[in-house]
Structure formats: C-alpha cells, structure tokens
Amino acid sequence: MGAAFDTIAFKASLCDGCGDCMTTCSKVKQGASRISIVPGAAEAVFELAICRQCGDPKCAMVCPSGALTKDGGSGVIGWNSDKCIDCLLCTAGCAYGGIAVDQSVSRVAKCDQCDGDPECVKACPTGALEFRKAGSIYKEYGEREDLFVPGLSGCLGCNSELIMRHAMRKIGRNSVLATPPGCIPGMGSVGYNGKTGTKVPVFHPLLTNTASMLAGIRRYYDKIGRKDIVVMALAGDGGTADCGFHAVSGAAERGEKILYVCVDNEGYMNTGMQRSGTTPYGSWTSTTPVGEHMKGKTQDAKNLPMIMAAHKCRYVATASTGYMEDLYEKLDKAIEASFEGFSYLHIYSPCPTGWRIPSSKVIDACRLSVETNFVTLWEYTPQTGIRFTRSPDNALPITAYVKMIGKYRHLSQDQLDHIQTKVDEQVALLRIMAAESPPPPPAHRQPAAPAASPAPAIGGDASQPPVRREISRN
C-alpha cells in the first residue's frame, strides 16, 4: 500500500500534434507506436491514448494467461511475450486504448516507459509530455522518518508543510533547526505545551538574529568536534530579506557553516499578510491595499538569492515545489555545502491564503511561476557562477501566471506591462551572469499552433492612470 509511481503526464495545451513522440516510439520499439496522439474536438487540439499503468489494471485482470502483471517497483504493467497467447482480451479490458494491436506483428503492444527513461518524452519538443518522477520521490522519502508532528496547523493547501517535512526527512536527525517567527513556527514547529513539534532540537530565535544564533551553535559544535550536525534555518522571506537580513548577510560574509532555507511566500503572511521586501510589484497585501488611489505594491521585489550570490556564498540556489526533482538535487548540494560554508536555498512558496489562490491550485501556481520566468530556477557556486537548472527560453507570458493569483486581480494593462518588463530585465541580467556557465537543459519550443487565447487584460481599463509613474520614485 501507499505505492506511488512515476508517470508520463500529458499537458494537452502544449501539444501541437507534431507526432514526434509516435515516430520516436515506433522507431525505438520497432513496431507500432505505443503512444497515440489523435485530433481533438477543435482545430489544433489533441488527445492522447497511452497505457496509464493503472493501479487496478483491468487488462491484467482479464488476461487468461497471466501475461500482464504490474511491477511493484516501477508500477509499469509488464507484458510477457512468451506467456501471451494473443487472444486480445486485454484490449477489451482497457478503457484508454493503452494496449492495442500492433498490426505489423499481430500482437498487442503497450507502453513500458522505456525502463524509466521514456523516449517519447525526450522527443517531445513542446513539453506536452513530461515524465513526472514525483512517485519515486514520494516512495523514497515516504520511507524516511518524518521529523515533524503529525498535525500541523497550516492553511489548507499550504506547501510549506511539504517543504518542511520533505527537507527534514532528507536532512535527518543530525540537525539543529531554527524557525524564526513566521508561518513555520506558527504551524507548530516550536510545539505546544512545552513540547517541540519536531524530533530534532528546534528553537525560535528573534526575527533579527536567526543567522547569528546559528553561527554560534555551529561554532560550538565545531569546537567539540561534531562536524556532522546540519545547523539550519527554515525561515520566511520577511525574517530573511528584511528584519533578519543584517544577520544573514553577516553570517554569509563570514562564511559561517549554516544551511539557510528561505521559504518565500512574498510577505508577512502569518501576521496578516503585510508586504515584505520580496513582495512583487502590483501585489495586494494588507499594507499595500487596492482602492481608488492605490493599486497594490508600488515597488519591485528585491531579488534576495541574487543578493546572496553576490555574497559569494558556498552555494546559492532557487527552487520551487512545482519542480521537486530540481529541489531535491539542490537540497543535496546545499546540505553538502553547509559543512563548508554558508549555504543558501531560496524556495518560492505560493501562499493560498495571502495570495488568494484556491488551495488546489498552489502547485499549478508554482509551475506557472516558473514557466513564465516570474521565478527562475538556478544555482550558484563561486567556481561555476550562476547556472540555470531550467532553461528560461520560450517562457509563457506572465499573464498566464498572474491571472490565476487573486492578489493580482486588479492589475491594469500598464501594471502587467511593467511586470513583464521587469521579469524580462531580470532574466536578461541572469543570462548575462550565466553566460559562462554550463548550458541549462534545452528548453521546449512553443507549440506550433497554440490555442488562440490572447492574454486577457486583467482589469484592463484604459481610463486608469498609469501607475508606473509611482515607480520612478524608487
């Protein structure tokens, strides 16, 4: 029970029906393609038939020869060609067209996920097909010890819990954790009734002194020869970018051996959603309200991870829970680097309550923030400089992301243009800084005939005075 498996996911909006997946599959498997893209209900809309590797595989249940079995490790439903008698009953069991007759050999053929490295996904030029490895991540981490209390009082849909539990499962018991004021202690890390909410030593520093206290702890452990302890913070963006910044900057400058994880939800969310230095331009917060005159925050966010890179930390990276594989790789590197020097991991964490996102859409928001370059995924070391871990090429317009977030609902076209300009500027700067680094994985191209949906003007009222003027004050 509790099995989770990697899966080939299909994002229909990115498919332009080029058929490269089928050509590749057919070539690799030397027969009929196991994946079938068919025309959909409208022009330039496509649908998919492929084995879903069901948890409850009816193809296998109706097989009279025991030729189809679900692999408990990979989740793939394997086909045993020796046992198969070619009766085709499996095709009657499958409601997805996932197992079908390959007429060239007159036997059934089905997707086997190419032993965990599906060729169709690699061939897909638009990113419509994706091999999602959340299953194996879940399985790996599900087996590790959970170091937080079972019940946490986070808001519905909050992904800070995901970050906390998974990060701590990876880091393990040999750690000392600081959780300065913010959502994370508010959710229960500091515990109740005199007991902590974690199975590791945890403390609750001031907003202003987190990094300084950790520096002292680290030095003490060094002094007594315990070099195996991860000394770390799970802090919010306010405690990192604003009131705690001097301590963070000082510790980074001194090269203190700390793992500092900043969970950036773009504001002081647990105290009532006030703006912070990382709140993006245009955002509604309780201190940047939307009314007749004010239209949300009038200043741009500071880019804290770039500031940390300028400290020449041992390791700096940005991550998103929409890209867990990437996050985990960086977490590994960040833990390693924290034994050598200051290690900084900045995790973008959309806040369903403070940003007004439906709780079911938080991970969607994570992914779209990256797909639009609103957030970029990169890492830095003093040796390699900045390197994108996901290509910023072929990004979607920022409207695709902004329109799903309630705190941007009021934005005028002018404000949207401003955000797009700033996003483009930032990516351009990062590209210059990353120019000498190893190239990122290739980006997917835009679909050839994208579903015609011109960016809807959010609150696009021409009579509204341009808000940009206020920016010039900065």
Binding site: V38, G40, E47, S65, C87, C94, Y96, S106
Partner: protein
C-alpha cells in the same frame, strides 16, 4: 469442520477477483478457496492454447502458492462441492467433508453441455473445459486422423483450427447457419468460414447430428446427420456450449434459473451467499433482463462486486449489466466484437468491406455494437462508449469514418 469467514467455491477469474476485492477491504478475515480442479487457478480460455502446444500446462497457472500465502487464503484443490445448506452455512464436498462459512461465493463456473444425441453415452468423446480435458485432447490428437467437432462456437472453432494445423482432417457440424452465431453477423461469419474452408476444414452448417454409434471396437465412431450422411471419426469433440454448474445447489434455497440468479450486487436469494462468473445469471446490459454472459470481463466485474459486498465495502457499485465481448483469433487473423454487433432490426448499421470488415451498430446516435475482421479496434474504448451511452451525434461522421481515432479522442476527453 474447517471454516472460513469468506468461502470461495471456484478458482477462476471471478473467484480470484473476489479474493482481491475482499482483501482490499479486509486484510485479516479468514478466507478459503475451494475448487474441483486439481491445479492452481487457471483460465478456461487458455485451454485451446494448451491443446495446440503453444502454452505449457504448467505455465498457464494464474497464481502460485505464495500468492495464497501472502493473501492469507487457504487453497483447497480437488474439492468438489456437492451440497449447500444455507441455513447452517455449510458446503458439503464429495469427500464427505463440510466447510462452514460466514459469507459464501458461488463461482463454480460452467461445464460442457452435452446434447441429447442418441448414443452419445456409448461413444468416447472429448470436451474442452478443464486442463485435464486439454491435455487429454492434445494426446488424442496425436493418434487421430479424422476429427469431428460438434458445435462451431469459440471452443469448437479453436479446437478445429488446432487439429487442422496438426494435420487431422476436421469436420465441424453446427446446427446454426453460421459459425460463432450471436457474436458476428452473417458477413463477418462468412469471412471466418472461408478461412476455415481455405485451411481444409469441412464446415457442415445448418446441420444436425441425430445419432452417434461406436465403431472399430470403440476406437472410433460414426456420426449420423439429419440428411442421412454419416461421418467417421476417430476423435469426437463435443463443443455445443456450456451450462452453469448448479447441480450442487438443488434444494439449497438459492434460486436458480439457467444459472444462479443474482441481483445487481451479485447477491443470490439465500442470505450471505453471492455468485459471480459463468455460473451467475446477472443483468444483461442490453435487455436489462438476467442472462448468462460467460466471458472473462463480466466474470471479473462480477467477482469484484461480489467481493466488495462480502467484505462490506461501502464503495460497492451496482453491476451495470454485462456486455458480450469476443476477441477471437483464427489462423493468425483477428475477429473482434462487442455489444449487439450482429443486430439488424431497429438499429442503424454502418458497414465497410474494403480490405478488413467493419460493422458499427447504432441506436439513437449511440453505439450499441461493433464487430470487425482483420481490422482491430480498441474493444475496451468501444465498450465504454456503449456502457456510458455516449451521444455520438456531434462526431458521427468522424466516428463512422475513423472509429478508432475518434473513440480514442472521446475517451481521452472523458478522463482528462
């Protein structure tokens, strides 16, 4: 007296699926599977391939002992049920032993129906329902030259093909005017028939056997036909259909018709007794009446529902009704049918005969049946279109022109 909370009588698809769905909900309740077979579970559908030699008898078993151990289920082979007492909740076996149960599944399947032909009890004949039958037929094939097969259903045709490929001269006698009646219309059946004729099999369709008698000291027999012709056979296979194994239920309080009558949750009329698979007479999707549809997909569906009911799983869903399915291979070719594929009255039919043969049967812009020869389609997808009564009017032209592609599209839209 051995006892089990869940007693499963039978060991093929329905019983195995019931086991799975019981264990899904109740990992601990004591369970036993008793079967008249000597072997671990296997499917009757595999038997023609054992006859042909393609499948080795030891390689067709669907589960091993470790499976029963892992599922905490006692597996008792060679256990022929001879009586059920629903009041005392006990099943009597031919060995004299009795099993007590709290909840019982009747999944005894079906056995060959032997036609009342004069002299049938005096001759040696084969049937094909068990692994022993299959091995017996395979051995007999080796020493025979002239085979006569009674019945041109799936079992008869599979066996006829096997024997023809093994070099025997084979004659198939069928009362109906076409092979595989019910599954295919006349045009489709004719394609199958011509393949058999092309491979040297004699098909005597619309032909009735009136008597058989032993010849040559019992080593062969004479088959007398209604028109006076006489066929000589040193191998006689009776494949005139099957009937549910219900004789052991007489007087038990379980209502019987042609099979065990069950409601939409696979309950019989006796308390805490369920039935599933070939033995059960459950709702027919098309007519809404109770009918026998002895195929694996319905056995699996029924077994799951019965198991859920036995375990008290509240997520049990009512049986939507069985839809006939036939996936048939003959001489390497493909014949498929689902639903009312042979219907012609009061329905719209679209046929295509260039190259392969395809027949779509619609009613009220909804698919109710689909058959094809040499032109495979996604049987499961078409089954869902039938079961869900998907209105095809917005896509009718595309569906008729390109049913496979359009079917995949419709299902993708349904689940995406």
């Amino acid at each position: 007296m051995p006892e089990a909370k869940y007693l499963l009588v039978g060991s093929s698809h329905a019983a195995l699926e019931a086991l799975r769905s019981i264990r899904h909900f109740d990992p601990d309740g004591s369970m036993a599977m008793i079967t008249r077979d000597q072997q671990l579970p296997y499917s009757p559908t595999i038997l023609p391939y054992v006859v042909s030699g393609r499948s080795k008898p030891e390689a067709v078993l669907l589960r091993d002992e470790a499976f029963f151990e892992a599922n905490a289920c006692t597996f008792a082979p060679n256990a022929v049920a001879t009586g059920l007492d629903a009041k005392t909740r006990s099943v009597t076996l031919a060995s004299g032993e009795s099993w007590r149960y709290e909840r019982l599944l009747i999944a005894t399947g079906a056995a060959p129906a032997i036609p009342p032909v004069k002299g049938i009890e005096t001759v040696r004949f084969h049937v094909l329902r068990s692994l022993d039958d299959a091995q017996g037929l395979r051995t007999a094939m080796g020493g025979a030259r002239h085979a006569v097969v009674l019945g041109a259903g799936l079992v008869g045709l599979h066996a006829a093909e096997n024997m023809a490929e093994a070099g025997l001269s084979v004659t198939v006698v069928e009362m109906q005017n076409h092979v595989l009646p019910g599954y295919f219309d006349a045009k489709a059946s004719e394609r199958i028939e011509s393949a058999f004729i092309g491979h040297g099999v004699k098909l005597l369709l619309g032909c009735k056997v009136v008597a058989v008698e032993p010849r040559d000291g019992g080593h062969s027999c004479a088959v007398h036909l209604e028109d006076g012709k006489v066929l000589q056979a040193d191998l006689l296979l009776v494949a005139t259909g099957v009937k549910p194994v219900t004789d052991w239920l007489a007087g038990s309080g379980v209502d019987l018709d042609r099979g065990v009558l069950v409601d939409e949750t696979m309950r019989t009329t006796a308390p805490d007794v369920w039935a599933a698979g070939d033995v059960a007479q459950a709702t027919d999707f098309h007519t809404g009446k109770r009918a026998l549809i002895g195929i694996i997909p319905t056995a699996v569906d029924q077994g799951r529902i019965a198991g859920q009911g036995m375990a008290g799983d509240t997520y049990q869903k009512a049986y939507p009704g069985g839809i006939p399915v036939n996936t048939y291979r003959f001489f390497g070719r493909v014949a498929l049918s689902i639903g009312q594929a042979a219907a012609s009255d009061g329905v719209e039919v679209s046929e295509r005969e260039d190259g392969g043969y395809r027949r779509l049967v619609m009613s009220d812009n909804r698919l109710i049946g689909y058959a094809s020869i040499d032109e495979p389609f996604d049987v499961g997808i078409m089954g869902e279109l039938i079961r869900r009564k998907v209105d095809l009017s917005p896509v009718m032209d595309a569906f008729i022109a390109r049913p496979v592609e359009t079917g995949r599209r419709l299902m993708s839209e349904q689940w995406r």
